[in-house]
Symmetry: C2
């Protein structure tokens, strides 16, 4: 009996294992969130809403159809934190796993290069890797919870309440879970720059990508004597960090420009700046908010939507098409327009396959989000177009920002969002693996023929 199951399990592709893991995690989460003790006394939650909360927590998106603080008990808070933890770390591990998978498919010569570049990291086993991820995430969360907890002592009457709030906030920020037990996200701390800065740091550490964290650790704790050759960050780390920073700066500036005559009118410059900076950081994948996004003007909502669509780094707790995909698109477009077919950056050349893949992912994501918007516009005719676009991008980017329509949506609309959260989370690369299987070499060829395009 057990042997049969084992044989069956061995036959599964990695992608199928991942889907299985995800579905299992959702199922367990649904069961956990159905325990009566997780709810506040007298509160009832519809089944679809429990499923939605479970999917949202496992995919660390943070879109909610119920108000967490009004619905769940303290025990429920802990259950949600555990789910966020598993969702965040699990997916990070999976992302990293795919990275290694990618590394394995590369020829011997390139592999040696990568070995040097990755500083023994790519050689370590999967188990060691996952241990590393868990250690780093736990460490970040503990420090965050302690700092926030002590700080919250001035906000809450009891130390239990303060540290509960601190712990939940730290877990929610680090895993980019985007959920809150304050009842209205970080709006109570809209004037507290310390809380905001802490959240920005925690969100960024979660969304910057696990390989970046590892490399940063290697860099900081390297033994100088051992390294005769200078330490070199991988192209991935450079590219994703640069894109991350660029999106942060771009987001902050554009928000200030678009809203200084509207939302920020009459607000002091430093408060406006922190509002904009926090909002730009949270669209990477965080989902916590210091402002009511439905109060922004249409252009700002469009910009936020596209920032969420781009999302966080690969192999992080975030979703979307991912920073590197976006970077490769833009880099190739510039090079293509100048007549170059090869993309050179940081003294390295990008692989043609990665470039094709980046365009495939962007196009597929665009089509998917468009179809989702279309479907919801059919099923939920009461909604404004921008509300639908915003919510769809938030789900696909597993960001969790909302214009406040999630709870009033039809069951069909909620299902569309759940599918988007799932795909956004595991990433389109993995998703394509799942529906397609691995690359095949063609064993026969037809004559090639060009066609006019564009």
């Amino acid at each position: 009996m057990w042997r049969k199951i084992r044989i069956w399990l061995d036959k599964l592709t990695p992608a199928q294992v991942i889907t299985g893991y995800y579905l299992l995690a959702v199922t367990i989460s649904v069961l956990l969130l159905s325990i009566p003790a997780v709810h506040k006394p007298g509160v009832k939650v519809a089944f679809i809403d429990t499923v939605f909360t479970a999917v949202s927590a496992v995919s660390v998106t943070g879109l909610t159809v119920v108000n967490i603080s009004e619905t769940y008990s303290v025990f429920g808070y802990f259950v949600i934190m555990v789910i966020l933890q598993f969702g965040g770390v699990g997916i990070m591990a999976i992302g990293t796993f795919f990275w290694m998978l990618l590394g394995r498919k590369i020829g011997l010569r390139s592999r040696k290069l990568i070995m040097v570049d990755h500083n023994q990291f790519a050689l370590a086993g999967l188990v060691h890797l996952i241990k590393e991820i868990i250690k780093i995430i736990f460490l970040i969360e503990c420090i965050g919870a302690l700092i926030l907890g002590f700080h919250f002592l001035s906000y809450y009457s009891t130390w239990e309440e303060a540290f509960l709030q601190g712990l939940f906030a730290a877990v929610s920020a680090t895993t980019n879970g985007g959920m809150d037990i304050t009842g209205k996200s970080l709006l109570p701390f809209a004037g507290d720059y310390f809380v905001q800065l802490m959240n920005i740091i925690l969100i960024t550490l979660g969304a910057i990508g696990f390989p970046v964290l590892i490399e940063a650790k290697e860099y900081l704790f390297r033994k100088r004597s051992e390294h005769e050759i200078p330490f070199r960050f991988t192209l991935f780390t450079k590219l994703t960090t640069l894109t991350f920073a660029a999106l942060l700066v771009f987001g902050t500036v554009i928000l200030l420009l678009l809203e200084f005559q509207h939302y920020f009118k009459g607000i002091e410059w430093h408060k406006s700046f922190f509002y904009a900076f926090f909002q730009a950081a949270t669209t990477r994948s965080g989902g916590l908010s210091t402002m009511d996004v439905s109060q922004f003007t249409l252009p700002t909502q469009l910009v936020l939507s596209i920032l969420m669509f781009i999302g966080a780094s690969p192999s992080s707790v975030g979703g979307g098409i991912r920073t590197t995909t976006f970077a490769l698109n833009i880099l190739f477009l510039f090079h293509f327009a100048k007549g170059n077919r090869e993309v050179k950056i940081f003294n390295r050349e990008l692989d043609q396959n990665d470039i094709i893949k980046s365009f495939v992912i962007t196009t597929l994501a665009t089509i998917m989000c468009f179809v989702s918007v279309l479907l919801i516009s059919i099923s939920d005719q009461q909604l404004q177009l921008i509300e639908i676009i915003f919510e769809v991008c938030s789900a696909f980017g597993t960001t969790g920002l909302s214009m406040g329509i999630t709870s009033s949506m039809s069951d069909f609309g909620k299902c569309v969002l759940m599918v988007l959260m799932f795909i956004g989370r595991i990433g389109l690369t993995s998703f394509l693996f799942i529906i397609g299987g691995k690359e095949k070499k063609a064993n026969y060829h037809y004559p090639k023929e060009r066609v006019i395009i564009g």
Copy 2:
């Protein structure tokens, strides 16, 4: 003096010549439309509106900020027809020219294959080609004008009026100009299936692509004895015609499904069918309309927007990303998901370069349209998001359908639309050529390094 100009002209790249041609055509059109006699007595048109009409006519888009029938005299109608003519044929010639340019860059072995496939067509000179285009378009227009003119005798009191209407309708439909002198597009003929069918045929002949028309002619008039090998349509013809037909069927079906409870409620099935069929055909690039598109529901308007964004065949009078670009995207996505990197269709294999180009074009077009929507949402805050999206897609697809907001837009918004009409018309391939110049071979290489994407 003349020699200097000649030397200067010789130095220009084909792409720069095309831009020059286009700007010259717009300038001349503006001058022509500024002659007092083109206006109806007492009518004044703002300069920006004259420029807009000129750009719209040269790019055969058909978006208008003034009502043609109320603004222009009969002389004005003829001026507009001449501009549409030059715009339509000129651009067709340019598209075909680029096709030949593409053909020239292919190696000797492939060229022989193409020679066979293209049936001596690719060998003919550019002058001969342009003559062919003009002949075919003129023939189609004359036949269309005569048939419609005779038919209109029952609508209009004088034969002059009937044939003027017939001529303008035929020119506007064949060049996909999308303009009308009835005052409200084809709405007066919403019940006249004959007029609609004629328009659909003329629009399709203009938008199906010039190479398709040539090949169809070759096929129909070939001497059987000369051809021992069976006639073979090019991959381009097969692909673009199939996509064209698929979009037509898809558009009709989806419109019927989305609107049978709304716009088509209480309307007989055959009238509904013709409404939907005409609308699906006109989104390819026609722009004439039998219905008020602002009366549709949001999902329908989204579908129409995407259909306009896709646009017509390359080397036709239409715009957008083009049917073949869309087809290559979809085909590659399917093959990619199944693990294939080569795309096989109709016993031919697609060129990897064409596939990359198709994704570059789609991504670039998406970014461009998004930025345009964003800019207009900033400059014209009174507009609904769907109105902006619809208008932007209509301009980029040079379709000319409108939800009726063009005339009320700010000058900045009108300028954005003009730029889109220009780029949509000459096509993104040519546009990339213009800003970038021709393909370069890199003379040095960096080591390749892969990055995690998606």
